[in-house]
């Protein structure tokens, strides 16, 4: 059973209710989701994070490729996400909603970081007018959450396949 299937099984096993953490391990990949609320249709989570040793020694160019691949795949969120900054020195790719969602009181956006140490993480932020930005829970359907986990894996698979060829 791969990580995605394991994650789906775990997700189906939890009922509606309050905060819980899903921690799924399928070496060398590890998926973590900090769920703050769930019901039959939707799930709110603070962070979806995949860690893997496959990214431990990846070069900046390959990291940028993963970022680009994720931007192409993640078209089903509330806003499209695009690579914003690529820090070759720190080996980090930052992707954000482009453009962010605006309302009268401020703006909200997704931020996805791909780190060279071996991590892909997705969070949602809100910046109210006059205040500092803060992390908020992202709300998606169960299907979207599963798809996110699947696309994180797929982006890593592409990298692994390219490395083989």
């Amino acid at each position: 059973m791969n990580l995605h299937q394991e994650f789906e099984r775990e997700l189906n096993s939890i009922g509606s209710g309050a905060t819980t953490t899903l921690d799924v391990d399928a070496a060398p990949r590890h998926l973590y989701c900090d769920i703050v609320e769930r019901n039959t249709l939707a799930i709110s989570f603070n962070e979806l994070r995949m860690t893997t040793s496959e990214l431990a020694s990846v070069d900046p160019e390959k990291l940028a490729r993963i970022g680009k691949s994720l931007a192409e795949k993640l078209t089903y969120l509330m806003e499209p996400i695009n690579p914003i900054e690529f820090d070759a020195q720190g080996c980090v790719v930052q992707l954000r909603s482009a453009p962010p969602q605006r309302d009268d009181d401020g703006r909200s956006y997704y931020e996805l970081l791909v780190r060279g140490g071996g991590e892909i993480s997705l969070r949602r932020y809100r910046k109210d007018n006059g205040d500092a930005r803060r992390a908020i829970a992202a709300t998606v359907t169960r299907e979207v959450l599963l798809r996110l986990a699947g696309d994180f894996e797929a982006a890593l698979d592409e990298l692994t396949n390219r490395a083989v060829f």
Partner: protein, 370 residues
């Protein structure tokens, strides 16, 4: 005695100044309205200003319309019924006529200083920089014709003609020959003056948009205008950075976009090195202006603060940080800077949400009089 036209012209200039002062906020906010004309002149569009024109007097009695004829009788030929023109009148209000007036940067700075209530800058240190200037204060026997001294040449020719008996008072022609010609010449004078170096730093990382850069350009224009009016000699340098910093020319400064991450420490390091190499603090008044969306990679803050605290703040007159809000509003650097160096007298922080905030930001930056 002052001629009437000069008085009128002076009055017109006063009206122009008044209009500029009245609309200064608009000019500051929309820097693109101001066109540059050479080094020292700018061209400013002024709306709703009556251009001076001749007004005819009545010349006593008589004049047009005083002769024979009935009241209301048309004067023009073929004065029949008015005919419809082609097309219809526009429905939108006219944009008004704009008059472009030329103004020196010095005058503009004066208006800005008055309107923003900016204190005059008190330069730090001695006038230890020696500036070389050319002064036309001597005469030579050779030189370009454009510099020929007509009066001296004439006098020398006259003297020669009289002494040689060629000059005839009844036919007073004075014809200079080559040896009569005198030319103006210059001497190089060393003139000590108080100088200032202005260093602009801008974040050009992927998160900085063109709109944010336009704000920087507008703000830099007004800062330059003010500082140039306060110092005789200004040296300006530009540094751009994402994760890596480099010194660039003005054009590159405003038109570069990188996709790298934001490491503010790289700009501080480049700035400190530039100052140490070219502008020793003992000789120069130093001004640093940094603009960023404040989205610095978290782990870089410590390094940035170290360089700022040890190598920049102790030696500069002013270190101004302008945080221009990005579409994400995610900049946290200003808050961190405030927490670390908030009470430092040389540090000025300003949050620039949009174009409208430029006016207050300039006031804040230059209001210290340092």
């Amino acid at each position: 005695m002052i001629m009437k036209i000069e008085r009128d012209q002076r009055r017109f200039r006063q009206i122009v100044r008044g209009r500029i002062r009245q609309n200064l906020r608009k000019y500051v906010t929309h820097g693109e309205m101001i066109g540059r004309k050479g080094r020292d002149l700018v061209s400013i569009p002024i709306p709703q200003l009556d251009v001076p024109h001749f007004r005819f007097g009545d010349n006593g009695a008589g004049g047009v319309g005083q002769g024979d004829g009935e009241e209301g009788k048309p004067i023009a030929k073929g004065g029949g019924e008015p005919k419809d023109g082609q097309g219809s009148a526009g429905s939108d209000p006219g944009g008004g006529h704009l008059l472009e007036v030329d103004m020196s940067l010095e005058e503009l700075a004066e208006i800005m200083g008055e309107e923003l209530e900016l204190p005059r800058i008190e330069p730090r240190g001695n006038a230890s920089i020696v500036q070389e200037k050319s002064k036309y204060n001597s005469i030579r026997q050779t030189g370009p014709e454009s510099l020929r001294h007509f009066k001296r040449t004439y006098l020398k020719a006259l003297r020669r003609q009289i002494s040689t008996g060629v000059y005839e008072p009844d036919d007073p022609h004075v014809v200079p020959i080559k040896s009569d010609k005198q030319y103006r010449s210059w001497n190089t004078i060393e003139h000590p003056q108080v100088n200032a170096a202005v260093i602009y730093m801008m974040d050009v990382s992927g998160s900085m948009t063109d709109e944010q850069k336009q704000i920087v350009r507008t703000e830099a224009f007004w800062i330059d205008t003010w500082l140039s009016s306060q110092y005789e000699g200004i040296e300006t340098r530009y540094i751009i950075h994402d994760a890596v910093a480099k010194e660039v020319d003005e054009n590159t400064f405003y038109h570069t976009r990188e996709s790298g991450g934001t490491r503010i420490s790289s700009a501080y390091k480049a700035c400190a090195e530039l100052i140490e190499e070219q502008f020793p603090a003992s000789d120069w008044n130093l001004y640093c202006f940094q603009f960023s969306d404040g989205d610095n990679w978290g782990e870089d803050n410590d390094e940035s603060f170290k360089i700022l605290g040890e190598r920049l703040l102790p030696i500069v007159n002013l270190f101004c940080y302008g945080q221009i809000e990005s579409p994400y509003g995610s900049g946290e650097f200003m808050g961190n800077l405030q927490g670390r160096f908030g009470d430092h007298e040389a540090l000025v922080l300003s949050e620039i949400e949009d174009k409208d905030a430029i006016y207050e930001s300039i006031k804040m930056f230059l209001g210290k009089g340092r």
